[in-house]
Subunit: 338 residues, 2 copies
């Protein structure tokens, strides 16, 4: 897996250069130009499931080249998603940019720079294009949904990771591998941290338990006893999805982004269930409410929802003003006043 390494490159050119000489900033390079690709993770929550908008019946994310007609990267993303899926986007934010090393194209090796985005919307099913659909996140990451407690798939996965740890050459390596997987997956008495989606995916990848990692290696057989580790995606799209999930799970805690995934009004339970779907965790009802009340995130409407299966519930709306207000979550610095 290409992970950006942190070892300094040894290529250090030392030269003598005066103030007048222009340092070559932004000089048109003699190197090959790049293709720029835009990739979108479009997320929604429907029927208590977090979902992602896909092409090719679930095998890839909407994506396409950045073109000169696009006014900006964001505009390009919007354009591609709408063209490919007929779905207009609302809230959108940049995720990450990475450069594949020498992706091969018919016209020879070309490097591609990929800029990924995360968009939050409501699922809409009017006029979808062929092959376009919404799939649960947990189809691709079945070990990430802990709403009903640790999912059954986790046992076999931990077993396979333990075997992987034992395969390591030396004793310290074995210990290190075990420490890492237990830490990432909350095994061995440690707590599950729902934000570490990417770390878990990369660990599985490194352990050869992810289908994508076996690509290219011709006819490498499935490891004996390898557990199922979710549906694969084209290229590294699943990795990008993991990045998006991690980002959203982290962000939901300190910015009011859930509301982008909800209709204009909603009950407390719907709100809580949206957060639960994203975090993959069950939350405490009363305290969740109190949190909303106390942070003044919502205000009541006149509407009452009767399709609750119990007592009718008031519908609330997001207080848009909070976006303008102070306090982006917890100010963890003990400021001195005066």
């Amino acid at each position: 897996m290409k992970t950006e390494e942190s070892k300094p490159v040894d290529r250090v050119t030392v030269g003598v250069m005066g103030r007048g000489d222009k340092i070559k900033r932004n000089a048109p390079s003699a190197t090959v130009p790049f293709d720029a690709e835009l990739i979108a993770v479009v997320a929604a929550v429907t029927a208590r499931m977090p979902r992602v908008l896909t092409l090719e019946t679930g095998n890839s994310l909407p994506s396409g080249p950045f073109e000169s007609a696009h006014r900006s990267l964001q505009a390009g993303v919007r354009s591609w998603v709408e063209r490919q899926t007929h779905h207009p986007l609302g809230h959108i934010e940049q995720l990450y940019t990475f450069a594949d090393r020498d992706r091969l194209e018919s016209s020879g090796p070309r490097r591609v720079i990929s800029v990924s985005y995360l968009a939050l919307t409501l699922e809409s099913r009017r006029d979808p294009a062929p092959g376009v659909g919404w799939w649960s996140w947990y189809r691709y990451f079945p070990w990430e949904d802990h709403r009903q407690g640790p999912p059954p798939i986790l046992g076999p996965i931990l077993g396979a990771l333990e075997r992987w740890a034992m395969e390591a050459p030396g004793v310290p390596e074995r210990r290190e591998r075990r420490r890492r997987y237990r830490h990432a997956f909350g095994a061995g008495g440690q707590a599950w941290n729902e934000e570490w989606v990417l770390q878990r995916y990369e660990l599985l990848y490194e352990a050869g338990l992810i289908a994508e990692s076996r690509r290219g290696m011709e006819e490498m057989e499935q490891e004996r006893d390898a557990p199922p580790t979710g549906e694969a995606m084209v290229q590294d799209h699943r990795r990008i999805l993991a990045t998006a999930i991690a980002r959203l799970r982290a962000k939901i805690k300190y910015r009011p982004v859930v509301f982008e995934l909800l209709p204009a009004t909603f009950t407390y339970l719907e709100l809580q269930q949206a957060v639960e779907a994203i975090a993959g965790l069950r939350l405490h009802k009363q305290n969740f409410r109190r949190l909303m009340v106390q942070q003044k995130l919502v205000e009541p409407t006149e509407a009452i929802e009767h399709q609750t299966g119990g007592r009718p519930a008031r519908r609330y709306r997001f207080r848009r003003e909070v976006l303008m207000e102070q306090a982006p979550g917890g100010a963890r610095l003990p400021q001195v006043r005066g």
Copy 2:
């Protein structure tokens, strides 16, 4: 939330498309290729000042084209910074990617994709290249340093912003402009939020108070009574610096990144002053200490510092283990246990 259906449908795909049909993803585009540029904000804290590593005696950030020889974007950034400044980098993270619209080059219009990075290091002055140097952040953003209370420059700036607000065509526009600048700058009874560096810069830019915004408009004279708004930089480098400062000010609150800016051991005061330099705020001594103690971020060493100007102080070291431990700051979700 949509409640019409209660069955957890896991998949909603409309349309007929086999796995074999290919949607045109990543098709080699007929559009112009791009140059990719890497830009680095290299930050350090020395003598109670947050500093940035610059070229051209303070006018630009280290940058250069991404080349085919680079193994990754990060490797490219490291390579350029070391080549241009002879400074090796430690901690590094991606900031943002943007695409300029049609930057003009000698060979005609070409689009450039810029990927910016933030690096944290210790200042070192061995063998600096000519024109290379470290400058205080606040040379570029003099309104951002509130460690001695609101800086004197803030008065004239608010005055100019008020004039800008009054210039607006209609009454509601005037009101809106006033609301925006007061909100961003903590004027009119509102609190200063040190994280909103980029918003403040962009507001000044929009108001025509930033030198960079007057570029290209030929011989547009300095507005009468326009206050000094810091040193300018080449292109949009100052904007990138604003993004970096904002990011660092936010991140320092929930991730232990300050330690990347400090030597291996340090006193509490040095630690506090580094945070103060970055945040541009004074912090409460005792409570700051308590925060460090309680979060177990540091551990004492045997060393005692005598050059304190007062009672000697113990030197501490960062507990690297915390990076591996739980709790990424505040878990703002009331999880249910069991």
